[in-house]
Symmetry: C2
Amino acid sequence: MSPIINSLVMHFGEMGSRWGLNRTLGQMYALIVLTEKPLNADEISAQLNISRSNVSMGLKELKSWNLIKLSHIPGDRKEYFSAPKDVWEIARNLMMERRKREVDPTLTALRDVLLEAPANEQEEYAQQRVKQMHDLIEMLTIWTDELQNMSNEKVAALLKLGSGLSKLLDMKERLLPGKANKE
Amino acid sequence: MSPIINSLVMHFGEMGSRWGLNRTLGQMYALIVLTEKPLNADEISAQLNISRSNVSMGLKELKSWNLIKLSHIPGDRKEYFSAPKDVWEIARNLMMERRKREVDPTLTALRDVLLEAPANEQEEYAQQRVKQMHDLIEMLTIWTDELQNMSNEKVAALLKLGSGLSKLLDMKERLLPGKANKE
DNA sequence: CTGAATTTTCAGTAATTTCTGAAAATTGTA
DNA sequence: TACAATTTTCAGAAATTACTGAAAATTCAG
């Protein structure tokens, strides 16, 4: 493996655990993303020195995250894997899956709590905090939905706004003062 | 512990591991956030059935995330802990710390790779992908900086935009077509 | 200062997560 | 359909991470 690719594979291995993945998954995905031609499971297993079965489990996981594409080579029965060529697509899918795993269950739990009648002072306070959290998380959720549906170009434009964002908000406020937004 | 609080403590315990924390940390923070009066380490230890030393380590971690506030009660030598009353502040700090741990090191690693001269075809392809990732992550970083510096009200307004966001972008494009934004 | 109260550290243990090899299941071709 | 190629599953082993109790360090009132 080329030194550059190797160092990135190592790095993403380290980071893998900090993101919801794990070391092997991070390494596998780095290798797949950085390699131009699709790889089969044996190649991945050999390059990363991990067992064939571990690769199989890793690929299953990456599939469930929608992070890899499957392809075939004529006359070869093996399956070949590659990453979307578009980093935006990768980022989108990552965001979506993380939200599904990390945020959605909490939103549900908070909603459930809000349906209960508070039994005393303490619970009243707790519910008030739960309400705040719920509202914040719900807004974030709506936002990420919005990002999902935007074109790459539009998301890119939005991100490029950077510090212009604040100004844009002010402008909007001047043009459409206090106009309520529906979701 | 009240049933409502208990169920949330359990839930955040579960989720703790999916976020960069761990079970105990999630439980501790849920308890602190949902309890109105500041808690001391012994109370936390008792309520959650975890060792005093574990609480100490957890509090150290929560401090490093800027998630808790320290206070004292006159005539009591113990330290008391509470969460910011403002969920935005919590969300902000969480975002900042996660970025520091999960994104910044990667940005650095990607930059380092971009400084190397590609040795062959493979490396050339890899660098091209690294460039894409780098640019995307850098934009995200600038954005989160921007969010850090915005007032709560402004962030709230931004989040509330929800699906109005897309329209706002269009509007901007009409008014200031193609205007470049500096960071 | 002294010493009791409190907090922190840390080596060892417990719990959890990840990884492997062997076996089972699936796939596609002849 | 039969069978070789390939992939998946899964029980146990290995590695990692989290937790504890005991001891050390710190803090602060007297």
